[in-house]
């Protein structure tokens, strides 16, 4: 049913993100990375499943937890890693960092340090596609916390009123920073809100990369045909703290470990791939080794890269 290339690509995408994030965590905790960083561990199936329906000409808007989206959209990880280390070879020349990472070469229009800041930008990119009469789509990723921003309302209404090729992808990881989303959110299923805008609202197991891939694929095809926007809610779980170094006083380690053992999208995929004989153990091992090596190279590239020249402070502002 699924081609081997697709299955291997989905798996390697998730593994690449996982290795990348584990590496960031280690070096952040060692004090080598400035600023704040937010990890995507445990949510890999969402970005990978959605972005496998996109081409480099399509657009995505990302979040403060944006490394996974960036990688899934096809960004090279060497300049990404260098950016997160604040180096001049970074994809944003050391001016953005983890929270403001972007790669316009692959249609990744940027992470956003403002929760809920991406919706209207994605709607604008979708509007550009409609005005130019291309079949591009724009996807905005957002969390359950961001679902409560007023920007969602304005963007969803505008996209639906104008039938724009936009896809709103909610990564419901159950935690809005340090607050359980059910204590601050009016509905259990954020997909239910789509009805208020006259667009489809679909919920899917966000830890099942194939389910995400299929569900997003349907909505992306719809958008490309000019049938308008949709909301896809991917139910997942934030395994790590809100940011690296978060003392996580709001939940227990046991609770997290139990959830992760049941919901790790990579483990779930591996089990299924072996059981269904999609990919053998040796193939899975080979993908993991390959991705680990790529991340090692990216780390070496970042750490050996120079910091920006101080005069870079004044560049990239105006013409």
């Amino acid at each position: 049913m699924y081609s081997k290339d697709l299955l291997r690509s989905l798996y390697s995408g998730m593994v690449k993100i996982r290795r990348f994030e584990e590496t960031i965590e280690k070096h952040f905790l060692a004090g080598e990375i400035p600023g704040f960083t937010h990890l995507y561990i445990g949510e890999e199936a969402v970005a990978v499943g959605v972005c496998h329906n996109l081409t480099p000409k399509d657009y995505i808007e990302s979040t403060h937890r944006g490394h996974g989206h960036c990688i899934a959209k096809g960004a090279e990880i060497k300049p990404m890693m260098a950016e997160i280390f604040g180096r001049s070879t970074g994809v944003c020349r050391g001016k953005g960092g983890s929270m403001h990472i972007a790669d316009f070469k692959v249609g990744m229009l940027g992470a956003n340090g403002v929760v809920g800041g991406g919706y209207t930008l994605a709607v604008g990119a979708a509007l550009a596609a409609k005005l130019r009469r291309t079949d591009q789509v724009a996807v905005v990723f957002f969390g359950d916390g961001a679902s409560n921003r007023g920007t969602f309302h304005e963007a969803a209404n505008m996209a639906a009123a104008w039938k724009l090729p936009a896809l709103f992808v909610c990564e419901n990881n159950e935690w809005a920073s340090t607050t359980p989303y059910r204590t601050t959110t009016s509905v259990a299923d954020i997909a239910d809100r789509a009805a208020g805008y006259g667009m489809p609202g679909v919920k899917v197991d966000g830890n099942d990369v194939l389910a995400v891939y299929e569900a997003a694929g349907e909505l992306v095809r719809r958008a490309r045909k000019g049938e308008g926007p949709a909301l896809l809610e991917c139910k997942t779980y934030r395994v790590k703290g809100h940011f690296v170094g978060d003392p996580e006083k709001y939940r227990t380690r046991e609770e997290v470990q139990k959830r992760f053992s049941e919901s790790d999208p990579i483990k779930l995929f591996e089990e299924r791939a072996v059981k269904e004989k999609w990919l053998g153990k040796a193939e899975l091992d080979s993908v993991r080794e390959g991705m680990a090596a790529e991340v090692v190279d990216a780390l070496a590239f970042a750490k050996s890269s120079p910091y920006p020249d101080p005069q870079e402070l004044f560049t990239d502002l105006y013409d």
Binding site: G113, T120, V123
Partner: protein, 323 residues
């Protein structure tokens, strides 16, 4: 030359730029069917095509955010704010997104957005429809701010703003829309970042911009009757300020007053005064004078609204104190 209103001048700019470049489009509330609440977009859909002139939902956040997003995707959007006061609704999109994206992404993209913002006091519109909020934006790196005072610059600055790869906020004072003035035939581009001496003088400099500049020109005539030759400098662009033009005039006249319709406290006049103090204190024969609105919201009742304005008589009185 042709004699047209400020409003017609902005419409000509829109029409010419939209016909010249099909990546330019405009969206805002009440602009396509209504023609803009001040008539400034009248018949634009017929002139350039209906698909590029869009009536939006009442959603300032989405208007500015979508303009920015469309710019990231290669378009050159013009967003209309309806009233400058509504910047309050969409400040994140203006100062965290539009102003920052080019810089924080290391120059991977440019953000060629123009936000048109009708501002200023008109006909008792009161506290939430009358403000002059330009100084907020002068404090934000990454955007440029212009504020024409006459039809020629209205056209020239709007065309330059649309062609600029920088985000530009275009303040257009509501009282200026019906005023007529000479506009050159053919291509008319006013450079961003350049002030203009609109009346030569020897004894003092009055620095202003937008609608308040007209009051300063009236005051300069009254001062001439009293034997004071006032030079009037129209800043035209508020960010980046034309420091050379400011200092050249101040050094020439040795006395200076800055006048704006906006609240005096923390206004553009404060920045101009500080530049003069830093760069040309020795040239001054009198302290820098500043006139602006009092530190209150804009009131409603005509009696109170008149009290709020900086009128030519006050400019004349303050000018005489410099001698």
């Amino acid at each position: 030359m042709k004699n047209i209103t400020f409003s017609q001048a902005t419409l000509e700019a829109m029409q010419e730029e939209m016909l010249r470049d099909e990546s330019v489009f405009v969206m805002g509330e009440d602009i396509a069917r209504q023609g803009g609440i001040f008539g400034q977009f009248k018949d634009l859909p017929q002139m350039v095509g209906a698909d590029r002139v869009m009536d939006t939902p009442i959603s300032e956040t989405a208007i500015v955010g979508a303009a920015v997003g469309a710019a990231l995707a290669g378009m050159r959007p013009v967003a209309d704010m309806h009233f400058a006061d509504f910047f309050g609704v969409c400040m994140d999109e203006v100062f965290n997104q539009m102003a920052k994206i080019r810089y924080m992404f290391g120059g991977q993209t440019k953000v060629p957005v123009v936000v048109r913002a009708p501002d200023g006091m008109a006909k008792g519109a009161a506290a939430q429809h009358s403000q002059s909020v330009e100084s907020w934006f002068v404090h934000i790196p990454g955007i440029q701010v212009v504020a024409p005072s006459n039809p020629a610059d209205a056209k020239g600055l709007l065309k330059s703003a649309i062609r600029s790869d920088n985000p530009v906020i275009y303040f257009e004072n509501k009282t200026l829309f019906p005023l007529k003035g000479d506009v050159p035939e053919g291509e008319c581009l006013t450079p961003i970042g350049k002030a203009a001496v609109c009346r030569e003088g020897r004894d003092m400099t009055i620095i202003s911009y937008s609608a308040q500049l007209l009051k300063c020109l009236e005051a300069a005539k009254l001062l001439a009757d009293e034997g004071i030759s006032a030079e009037v400098l129209d800043l035209r662009t508020l960010s980046p300020l034309d420091t050379d033009a400011i200092l050249t005039s101040v050094v020439k006249t040795s006395r200076v007053m800055i006048v704006h319709e906006a609240v005096k406290q923390g206004g553009v006049g404060a920045e101009v005064a500080a530049i003069i103090a830093e760069e040309a204190l020795d040239a001054l024969d009198a302290p820098v004078a500043r006139l602006g609105a009092p530190f209150t919201p804009v009131p409603f009742s005509p009696v109170l609204e008149d009290q709020y304005r900086v009128l030519p008589a006050q400019i004349v009185a303050a000018a005489k104190k410099l001698f």
